[in-house]
């Protein structure tokens, strides 16, 4: 099988053509792009026979390779950004990225919080910024095809550094939008280096036009030095036509507290990958997500949580609500290396199927090489609990409302766990995604 000649599909050929045209004009080291592209060229678009992509067959889903989007005119970018509602109620320093390019005029670069320095990825690549050496900290991510494609095509994004010991009170909000009637591809790379003892909250939101097969590929890499505290809340509001790939990597030092939460509602197709490595001792990492799908939508969340250092704790909680003919995928792998004694890893994926056409695929994995660990995973899928529905209805709450209440609380558990109890505004901003989806469900 391996020695068989790989046959290029028309889409793969088109991607190669796009690359040939783009590599000369994209900023930075063309050689590094060639290497990354070679990784893609060798493997091709992932398909169902590639284990990690078993449930998301890009080869059969991606019928066209959209061209890499050029930068938008400022007015168009601003209009698209204005239409993106996410985290509007949260006071934050905004960083706007439209069609894969930073929009300085719509960003708060002039008043970034104290201790935060920032450069665009385009500039950083062009100037050979030393921080870029921190990219690719997780080898398993670098092997990944979505990541490799991003490395080949990455055009912009931001490189952020949070100075040691700084407690950044104002969240940094990365606002991604894609607009336009004809499909485009984007490839953004964001790097956040949080120096020792610092803390920061990162918000990330995505919007793209409905019914257009935009192909965003976004990578966010977080390097958490020792004793840092980082919260990352992400809203995936891609449109019903989008085919979105996203990768988050989190490389954690010692005594780190890291939490990420991802809300996915109604995308055409999304694959969200999280690679989290515990490289230092006594760190805690939480990876959570709530996914809401209907129609023929497809969302795949794939995690690789790698415990390399001892005495760390990971918590993964994923909730999926599926309506219509939607497909939900959860793949979660917790690996514990021989040295990572006293690891405590707990992973849970729960799905509720609201219609007979829906499909849920769960693949939680444990891969353990250390003997003194406590690791567990659970996975459930089923309908809404009849007894709970009856209880609510017996109090006079009509069925649709009772269902909505139960679905909201089901999904809300992820937000409860990830967000500080006192941060009412943040909880509202995140739960708003669920409520909007439920309201649209009717």
């Amino acid at each position: 099988m391996a020695d068989m000649e790989r046959i290029n599909t028309p889409v793969e050929t088109a991607i190669a053509e796009h690359f040939a045209g783009a590599k000369a004009v994209l900023p930075g080291d063309a050689g590094a792009r060639e290497t990354a592209f070679a990784r893609f060229a060798e493997a091709g678009l992932p398909h169902r026979r590639v284990e990690e992509w078993k449930y998301t067959d890009l080869r059969s889903v991606m019928r066209e390779a959209a061209p890499l989007a050029p930068a938008l005119a400022d007015d168009d970018a601003v209009a698209a950004l204005e239409a993106s509602p996410w985290f509007a109620g949260i006071e934050a320093a905004r960083i706007a990225i439209a069609n894969g390019h930073v929009v300085a005029s719509a960003s708060d670069f002039a008043d970034l919080p104290e201790g935060v320095s920032l450069e665009t990825t385009a500039q950083a690549l062009a100037s050979g910024h030393p921080d870029l050496a921190a990219l690719g900290a997780i080898p398993e991510a670098s092997e990944n095809i979505a990541y490799a494609l991003n490395s080949a095509f990455m055009s912009d994004g931001v490189v952020i550094r949070v100075a040691a010991g700084t407690k950044v009170e104002t969240p940094l909000h990365l606002r991604f939008v894609i607009t336009g009637d004809s499909a485009v591809a984007t490839a953004t790379r964001t790097l956040v280096i949080v120096e020792k003892g610092a803390s920061v909250t990162l918000l990330e939101s995505h919007d793209s036009a409905d019914d257009v097969a935009h192909q965003p590929n976004n990578v966010v890499e977080i390097v958490a030095e020792d004793e840092t505290e980082i919260a990352h809340f992400r809203i995936d509001g891609h449109g019903s036509g989008a085919q979105a790939l996203s990768t988050l990597t989190a490389h954690l030092g010692a005594h780190v507290a890291f939490d990420t939460l991802n809300m996915i509602a109604r995308p055409g197709l999304v694959r969200h990958q999280v690679f989290m490595t515990f490289a230092g001792e006594h760190s805690k990492g939480g990876v959570r997500g709530a996914t809401m799908l209907g129609e023929r939508q497809h969302a795949d969340t794939t995690l690789f949580v790698n415990h390399v250092a001892p005495h760390c704790e990971s918590r993964e909680l994923f909730k999926t609500a599926l309506d219509g003919n939607a497909t939900g995928v959860f793949q979660g792998r917790i690996a514990v290396a021989k040295e990572a004694q006293k690891t405590d890893g707990q992973m849970m994926s729960a799905a509720v199927l609201l219609s007979d056409g829906a499909t849920m695929n769960n693949k939680p994995e444990l891969e353990i090489f250390a003997d003194d660990v406590l690791c567990a995973h659970g996975a459930t899928c089923g309908e809404l609990d009849d007894d709970l529905l009856f209880y609510l209805m017996a109090r006079g709450i009509p069925r649709p409302e009772a269902e909505a209440l139960l679905i909201e609380s089901f999904l809300g558990e992820t937000v409860e766990e990830a967000v500080d109890e006192t941060d009412e505004a943040m909880r509202e901003a995140l739960m708003g995604v669920a409520r909007t989806w439920l309201a649209a469900r009717g």
């Binding site: 099988m1 199927l353 609201l354 007979d356 499909t359 406590l374 996975a379 459930t380 899928c381």
Partner: protein, 490 residues
């Protein structure tokens, strides 16, 4: 807990590395020439005096096999097997056609006695109540050498014989069911088996009959460089019941030997099949030299409504285990169960689990898997639970627990859970842990040494599954587990 004490005593008696079934029987054998081609298949078929249709079936399987790739997705590593460097047929020369046990070579009878499997019915009957009798089909390398209690079973209408005999005596049943659960193109090893299978057991339980005793097959690989490819087919007709057990051992050898069996179960309406395995093939030595490659396809088809198939396995042997006894829950209201204990030590590699495929309405399944890894072994649970569109009301509960003993082994859990039906309800839980220091301390404080304490706690860990085995096998299995873990502590 007398059983536990017995286990401990047994463990103490045995040196590290000792595999008690490792002896070899010296007997004259007849073999096919080494290698695999259509002539070898014709040779096997001719040896068995098979009808033309059976030969054609084999040849078709062989031609399909030639186009297939060896699977590489399991978490096991081994050097490439040269399928042309094996013997595909080996039979005791004296075993041309034994009419009764008296004609069976005494060396073979001795072998089974040494293994604790008496084949003489009168020996078996001594002091055993009729309901506790066990009928045995003994398979020695490529052929069935004896099947006991055939007469009593025949009175009940139960057919229990070697599959070779069934091809002659009951061709209509074999034709109707063979390859309907595991098609000959199912997978690489199943196709290979379909081409070259030499013997195995055949069971048919007629409608409404409760099989009057436990049935069992005892597989023994004796000859060098010989693959064993047995094929078992069990059919439980409407409303019938049968409990079947297989045991396996092999001599201690430095080379690896291939065992690629296929087991097919068919349960019609309201029928129940219980299939238990105590697998103790030679696992290789502490350095990983030798041992059996156990690449087995086992599948049950709950074809009829309200049928039940239960797989219970205790896996302690083999250098490499690759097996996933599965249930296709086709009949409405049918039920599949899988209970497994997989113990790996030394350099053993296990990749095992089950598939529960819910096709019918209100089908239920239950999976309880206990993996214990010690030494330098790798132990993987791999399982699939799926509900198809029409499987409304399907239920599954899965529990996979892994225990690690020592810090050079691995324990892995890879479940696939796929639901396409809203009213299907699946629950899966898995844990990995070690024997807690507190537990060990508590037990040792009561006067047990560390090895005894581990044996005690491990027995507790696997208890849920042991209880699913027929009583006498449960005791045997418990001993096996402790012996397998011998030398893993400290």
């Amino acid at each position: 807990m007398p059983a536990v004490q017995e286990t401990i005593d047994r463990v103490k008696e045995i040196d590290v590395d000792q595999y008690k079934y490792g002896f070899e029987t010296i007997i004259e054998m007849e073999k096919a020439p080494k290698g695999l081609n259509e002539d070898i298949i014709r040779f096997i078929s001719a040896k068995k005096n098979e009808p033309e249709w059976m030969l054609e079936w084999r040849l078709d399987a062989y031609r399909r096999w030639l186009t297939m790739q060896e699977p590489d997705w399991a978490r096991v590593n081994y050097p490439k097997i040269d399928f042309n460097d094996l013997y595909y047929y080996a039979a005791p020369k004296s075993n041309e056609a034994p009419k009764s046990l008296d004609e069976v070579d005494p060396e073979i009878l001795k072998t089974y006695e040494k293994l604790g499997i008496p084949l003489r019915e009168q020996e078996m009957l001594a002091g055993i109540a009729p309901e506790n009798r066990v009928a045995v089909d003994a398979v020695f390398d490529s052929v069935s050498v004896a099947t006991t209690f055939k007469k009593e079973l025949a009175e009940a209408g139960v057919i229990f014989c070697s599959i070779s005999e069934a091809v002659h005596e009951h061709p209509e049943l074999v034709k109707k069911y063979l390859g309907t659960v595991v098609p000959k193109s199912d997978n690489f090893y199943a196709s290979l088996n379909s081409a070259v299978f030499t013997d195995g057991s055949f069971v048919y339980v007629p409608p409404g009959v409760r099989c009057p005793m436990e049935l069992s097959t005892y597989f023994r690989i004796n000859e060098k460089e010989t693959g064993q490819f047995e094929r078992t087919l069990i059919i439980a007709d409407k409303g019938s019941y049968v409990s079947y057990l297989e045991g396996c051992t092999a001599p201690q050898r430095d080379e690896n030997q291939l065992h690629a069996a296929v087991v097919e179960l068919v349960a019609l309406d309201d029928a129940e099949i219980k299939y238990s395995t105590v697998q103790n093939w030679y696992p290789g030595d502490a350095q990983g030299k030798g041992g059996i490659y156990n690449f087995v396809t086992k599948r049950g088809d709950c074809r009829g409504k309200n049928s039940i198939i239960t797989w219970t396995q205790v896996e302690t042997g083999s250098a490499i285990t690759w097996k996933y006894p599965s249930c296709i829950l086709r009949g409405d209201g049918s039920r599949g169960e899988f209970y497994s204990i997989a113990v790996s030590n030394g350099r053993q590699q296990i990749d095992s689990g089950t598939k529960m495929i819910h096709l019918g309405k209100n089908t239920t399944s239950r999976i309880i898997s206990k993996g214990i890894s010690a030494g330098h072994s790798e132990n993987t649970y791999r399982g699939l639970v799926s509900a198809h569109r029409k499987a409304s009301g399907a239920r599954n509960f899965t529990n996979c627990d892994s225990l690690l003993i020592g810090n050079n082994c691995g324990a892995h859990t890879v479940p696939y859970i796929e639901s396409k039906n809203a009213s299907a309800r699946f629950e899966h839980e898995a844990t990995t842990s070690k024997i807690s220091d507190e537990q060990l301390f508590y037990v040792m404080q009561r006067g047990l040494d560390e090895e005894e304490a581990v044996a005690l706690i491990v027995n507790g860990f696997v208890k849920d599954v042991l209880q699913k085995l027929p009583m006498e096998f449960a005791v045997e299995a418990q001993k096996l587990i402790s012996i397998s873990l011998e030398g893993s502590v400290g």
